[in-house]
């Protein structure tokens, strides 16, 4: 497995402009693919508008202890772009002022940011009732002694944990996330279970995320959740709450994988033929704002990685945060958006149609 980020390899695909060029290049697919905006127009959803500003998602930086093959962030140990404490303070102020219902912390590995714990505690102070989600990659908990107590910290602050586990077998997980990741993930899950996460009636939520280890789409979430629960319980004694099945987005390293393996054209066609209007109605950008490590505002984490800042010109940075402009904005869509509308749809919370 390639352990270098595209950024480190100075690959063309590390740049957002080149990614957008590829996504809109009909030569790469051998035929003209329907534009996402046309699909939305046909179902009277274009321009796509937000319905609410409920979720404040913060990408705390691109630094990560892993280099997963499908990562849309191109995260890794060599990435130094992480959020400063000043930027976090501005986020805290906004979270207090606008009382978002959910604050969603992602990365990279958000816990690698040295101000992570401070940030969480400040958020709790200004918005005691909001749901705080941490997208924890599991292995960070066992990567170093100083992170072993993270589960206790999550618990103390009433955090909901969402973690990737591409499959309940080591071979498929490791192929996507790196050698030994499955074993470390099992250790981390046991620690989370031990403090009460994923245990019935504990009130401590531990959700897992499935995403396909290859160029195919996720299956029905409910059936897969059942299998995950049985397998993890029987083989490793591990329990969790819900499984979210997420579609891989043709962005960054996953886009690179598709191109390198000759799967790009068929994957895009597959996404397009699975376009589901109900899923389009519920895409997560309609109730989410995504904040980059440097404070810029995006419609979602994918647009963030493609450097597509929100259309609201007077509110593209948290220093100029303007609630009204953001509510009125048109959401910026492009060909990668097909990943959110295929089949049952996909968001950071899994399927979007029941």
């Amino acid at each position: 497995m390639d352990l270098k980020t595209l950024h480190k390899k100075q690959d063309q695909l590390a740049g957002s402009e080149y990614q957008l060029k590829v996504l809109n290049d009909d030569e790469k697919t051998g035929k003209k693919l329907a534009r996402f905006s046309e699909k939305l127009t046909a179902i009277l959803l274009f321009p796509l508008k937000p319905l609410a500003l409920d979720i404040f998602q913060v990408n705390m930086g691109k630094m990560c202890n892993q280099v997963c093959q499908h990562c849309h962030v191109d995260a890794g140990p060599d990435r130094k772009e992480i959020m400063t404490r000043d930027t976090m303070q501005t986020c805290v102020d906004l979270i207090g002022q606008h009382q978002f219902t959910t604050v969603d912390l992602t990365g990279g590995a958000p816990e690698l940011n040295p101000n992570f714990r401070w940030f969480v505690e400040e958020i709790r102070k200004v918005n005691p009732s909001c749901k705080i989600i941490v997208r924890c990659n599991l292995t960070i908990i066992v990567a170093n002694k100083k992170y072993n107590d993270l589960p206790v910290f999550y618990k103390t602050n009433g955090i909901e944990v969402v973690s990737s586990l591409p499959f309940y077998s080591a071979s498929r997980t490791d192929k996507q996330r790196g050698d030994g990741v499955f074993e470390d993930s099992m250790k981390a899950l046991s620690i989370l279970n031990a403090v009460g996460y994923g245990i019935e009636n504990s009130g401590l939520i531990l959700n897992l995320v499935y995403n396909p280890a290859g160029a195919f789409l996720p299956p029905d979430q409910t059936a897969l959740e059942k299998e995950y629960k049985t397998e993890l319980k029987n083989k490793y004694g591990i329990t969790f709450n819900n499984l979210f099945a997420i579609t891989n987005m043709p962005v960054s390293r996953y886009l690179n994988y598709l191109l390198q393996t000759g799967n790009y054209a068929s994957y895009m066609e597959k996404l397009i033929s699975a376009f589901n209007p109900a899923a389009a109605n519920n895409v997560m950008c309609r109730n989410t704002l995504s904040i980059g490590w440097d404070g810029y505002i995006y419609d979602c984490d994918f647009n963030q990685m493609l450097d597509l800042k929100v259309e609201a010109k007077d509110s593209q940075h948290i220093n100029d945060f303007n609630n009204d402009s953001l509510k009125k904005r048109n959401i910026i869509v492009n060909q990668h958006c097909y990943g959110c509308t295929a089949g049952a749809g996909s968001s950071c919370g899994g399927e979007v149609v029941g």
Binding site: F216, D220, A223, S273
Partner: protein, 110 residues
């Protein structure tokens, strides 16, 4: 190169309705119904389909159900075992007729 089988044709399966719509509609409705979760899970049905696809040696179905079983979370060992089931039944079906052959040979022999 011209070949009898073209992978692109798989996507056009639905177009058989152009020549005879009512029967195609009935077939596709039935097909959809068959593969829904039922007394068997959709995953089990997909594995059966993969095995049958190999038994009838339909390249379209092999393509479709290799993807479908993988999407449904079947492991490499599981899909291969499913094909061995098909092979065992095909092989067994040949060999069990050996009894018929033996009966005949014995019948006509001294």
């Amino acid at each position: 190169m011209k070949t009898y089988y073209n992978p692109e044709d798989l996507k056009k399966f639905g177009t058989i309705a152009e020549f005879q719509k009512p029967l195609a509609d009935k077939f596709f409705d039935y097909y959809g119904e068959v593969f829904k979760e039922g007394a068997l899970t959709a995953r089990e049905k997909s594995l059966i389909a993969l095995a049958v696809a190999h038994a009838v040696q339909c390249p379209y179905c092999i393509d479709a159900y290799s993807v479908d079983t993988t999407e449904k979370g079947c492991t490499e060992a599981q899909v291969m075992e499913a094909i061995h089931v098909a092979a065992a039944i095909r092989g067994g079906a040949t060999l069990v007729h050996g009894v018929q052959m033996m009966n005949k040979v014995k019948e006509i022999s001294m």
